[in-house]
């Protein structure tokens, strides 16, 4: 039951006369006319209708409309798993803040301010989220050009300074978009927290404990953190902006680069959103292949989490043991997709290639071996007293936090919230395989550890079932739905069939125009719910594509949970939240 039922909508309509209900096949929303009502409606939805799970807030820019910006909340009822979007137009670029109702809205609103320049009444620290202080522009507005505004000379990108007057390659310009100066970065740092403790520790942006380029500011009293803030944006590439400017099929390789540890899962979430929009049916074989690879990728990602998490807590050897298994999964993915990390294996309407010969044998071999390796990891860590001491009752995230901050994935499940898109809204072949959702109860680091370990086991089970199903399938079963007009036909057909060639030409050159409408669709990534919201106006590229990033929201709870804990706990907690910067920053 992914979207709100008629009954629920009617009940809401009954309480509030001034809303319109808009039902689309893959999107249900209520339009709120007046910004004054939005706080009340959100409160009502949260308290009375139990839509207490905050999933996302984002803004869409319509430069030609009177009010220009449209804000949109996506909420979920965690008991019936109904999903509902709430739309409201900004008035004079202003909207009352929702951070009192949903704590997760705090970061989402900061991001909206950063990208669109909209303001929130009552939100006193709307600061830049990804860009630095003093940055003049709002990049996701429609009037901001894709390439940015070149205004700074950066000769270092060319070889001109070395006396080589030839331009290094055909497309480098000395002029570059604005790059922050040290002063501006320092100002950004200062604006985030005011020192109250003994010393402020800059933890990051380049630090082995942050798993990427995250920048934490810890205000320390002794070793205890009394307040903290996160400065993001070191890997911000403007994925959403890029998506608005290229065809649907071209955005696929970019999704690999968001959560680069679970490329196939990202692709799956994206491809599935587009397929829902264009109403494309996917052949069964492709569904199984997708499921199998997504689960392999999940094991892969969890193994990296295990390795680095253990490394953070000092267990150096687990890292390499985890990488040994990871390498095998990489081999399977590489043999099929052609690349190890950013695989670009899926296609809209199916998968890129059929399975390579021997994949199933190799995968079977891997899974058989993997169970014993999983036991090894358990033996090294699970009952180890130091591991227990470091993880037990550390960084406790309550269920209320999960709902408030919109935490998803193992972080939510560790706290006892059984929210898993694979079960709630089954996609690919998840409705055809049998697996369990592991759920913890306390919500400490140890619970999240157990949940992820169990998930690896369940994923291995799913892979086994997929192998079984794929082995039974005949060789030449279609792996891509090439009949649909929006699907690029496979390469062999292009060479041999004029019709397919013309179709391929048409899609590549003009892109296939998708139907008008909206879609919010999400997949269960190893880190949580990765959602894609597509606002289509009938063109070949989305008008607005919003990526609901799981790492971003999962990370937003960090400053709250870490307070009054030590730096060592911060490492453990961050490891258990397991954010990937490529996805927090997009």
């Amino acid at each position: 039951m992914p979207w709100a039922s008629k009954d629920t909508l009617e009940r809401i309509k009954h309480s509030f006369r001034q809303i319109n209900i808009d039902i689309q096949p893959h999107f249900v929303c209520i339009n709120v006319e007046d910004t004054k009502d939005i706080t009340n409606i959100l409160k009502h939805l949260k308290d009375v209708e139990d839509f207490r799970y905050f999933i996302d807030f984002h803004v869409i820019d319509f430069p030609k409309e009177k009010d220009r910006f449209l804000g949109q909340y996506i909420l979920v009822n965690p008991y019936t798993f109904e999903r509902l979007a709430v739309k409201v137009w900004f008035k004079n670029n202003k909207l009352p803040t929702a951070k009192e109702i949903f704590a997760g809205a705090k970061w989402a609103e900061r991001e909206a301010y950063d990208m669109f320049g909209v303001e929130f009444e009552g939100h006193e620290d709307v600061k830049r989220m990804f860009m630095w202080e003093d940055y003049k522009y709002f990049p996701l507005r429609k009037d901001f050009p894709l390439g940015g505004i070149p205004e700074q000379k950066l000769p270092s990108l060319t070889e001109v300074l070395e006396g080589n007057t030839m331009p290094p390659s055909h497309d480098y310009d000395i002029m570059h978009t604005y790059v922050p100066t040290i002063k501006e970065i320092e100002k950004t740092e200062k604006s985030r927290i005011t020192k109250r403790g003994q010393l402020v520790l800059n933890w990051g942006p380049l630090h082995p404990g942050t798993h990427g380029t995250m920048w934490f500011l810890f205000d320390l009293e002794g070793e205890h953190i009394i307040q903290t803030d996160v400065i993001l944006g070191q890997l911000h590439r403007g994925m959403e902006k890029i998506a608005e400017n290229i065809h649907y099929f071209q955005f696929l390789p970019y999704t690999d680069r968001m959560d680069y540890l679970s490329a196939v899962c990202n692709e799956l979430s994206y491809v599935q959103a587009v397929e829902k929009l264009a109403n494309i049916e996917v052949p069964l074989k492709a569904r199984y292949i997708r499921t199998m690879f997504a689960e392999l990728q999940r094991i892969n990602s969890h193994l990296l989490w295990l390795g680095t998490g253990a490394l953070d807590l000092g267990a150096l050897t687990v890292f390499l043991y985890a990488f040994r298994e990871r390498e095998k999964i990489m081999d399977i993915i590489e043999g099929n997709a052609g690349f190890r990390l950013t695989s670009a294996f899926l296609r809209i309407g199916g998968v890129h290639y059929d399975l390579a010969k021997g994949t199933l044998e190799v995968a079977k071999y891997f899974v058989k071996d993997f169970y014993s390796k999983l036991k090894e990891y358990h033996g090294l860590l699970t009952r180890n007293r130091i591991w227990l001491k470091r993880t037990k009752d550390v960084g406790v995230i309550t269920q209320e936090d999960v709902y408030q901050y919109g935490l998803t994935g193992p972080v939510a499940r560790g706290s006892g919230v059984a929210y898993d898109m694979r079960k709630i809204d089954p996609y690919a072949a998840y409705d055809l395989v049998d697996f369990d959702i592991p759920v913890g109860d306390i919500g400490d680091v140890y619970d999240r550890y157990l949940v992820r370990m169990e998930e690896m086991y369940q994923s291995a089970r799913i892979v086994e079932q997929c192998i079984e199903a794929l082995e039974k399938m005949p060789e030449n079963e279609p792996y891509v739905n090439k009949k649909h007009p929006a699907v690029i036909p496979p390469k062999e057909d292009v060479f041999n069939d004029l019709e397919d060639m013309v179709k391929s030409f048409r899609i590549v050159v003009h892109g296939e125009n998708m139907p008008k409408g909206e879609v919010y669709s999400s997949g269960e990534n190893p880190r949580g719910e990765l959602g894609f919201y597509i606002y289509s106006i009938g063109k070949s590229s989305p008008y607005r594509l919003r990526i609901r990033s799981c790492s971003f929201y999962n990370l937003s709870v960090f400053p709250k949970v870490i307070e009054k804990h030590t730096i060592s706990d911060a490492v453990a907690l961050l490891g258990s939240i397991d954010p990937v910067v490529g996805e927090t920053d997009r």
Binding site: D171, Q250, P253, G335, N384, I437, S504
Partner: protein, 202 residues
Amino acid sequence: MIKLKRLRRDDSLGPLESVLFLDFIKGLTITMKNLLRKPITTQYPKEKITPPKRFRGKHGHFVYDGTEPPSLQAIQGFMSFEKGKSRCVACYMCQTACPMPTLFRIEAVQMPDGTKKVVRFDMNLLNCLFCGLCVDACPVECLTMSDIHEMAVYRRSQAVIHMDDMEKIGATNAKTVRELPDRIWRNDKERETLWGKVKWNF
């Protein structure tokens, strides 16, 4: 509705376990077991693993040598091809399909006899995502990707590859790759250090 699995939390050690350090001993035996196993690494610059057939490495151009697909045979009359040279037809499909619009630079001229000749095909690999969309888009099976993955260069300008580089890759490396069977990896022996012996069903 949802199949839940409540986790069993064995989170406190028994008295015997904690006094005799059984948890440490368990971990130590596991690491000792691994100490006695064979190392799984390949020593990179000395030994190299051959990438699989589908690997997306440095780009190449297949040359005009009589192995053209039907799609090219239909239009080869309009092109001035030479044997052993690129079979590019300058349709700009790769450039159009590429998510990075500035990556390609393709130029073609009209020959006196009315045929078309490609004179320039540059790719700036610094911009490349190696997503393979260009290869998919190529309608005449000209652009391809080889298994060359060591592409570090000393200057930015060296990262731009030209048509003659790509012809060479296409004529040698990419060609051998294309003729291989579509298998998950090419060389069983190389993978044995990591995988051990895998049983094949085919």
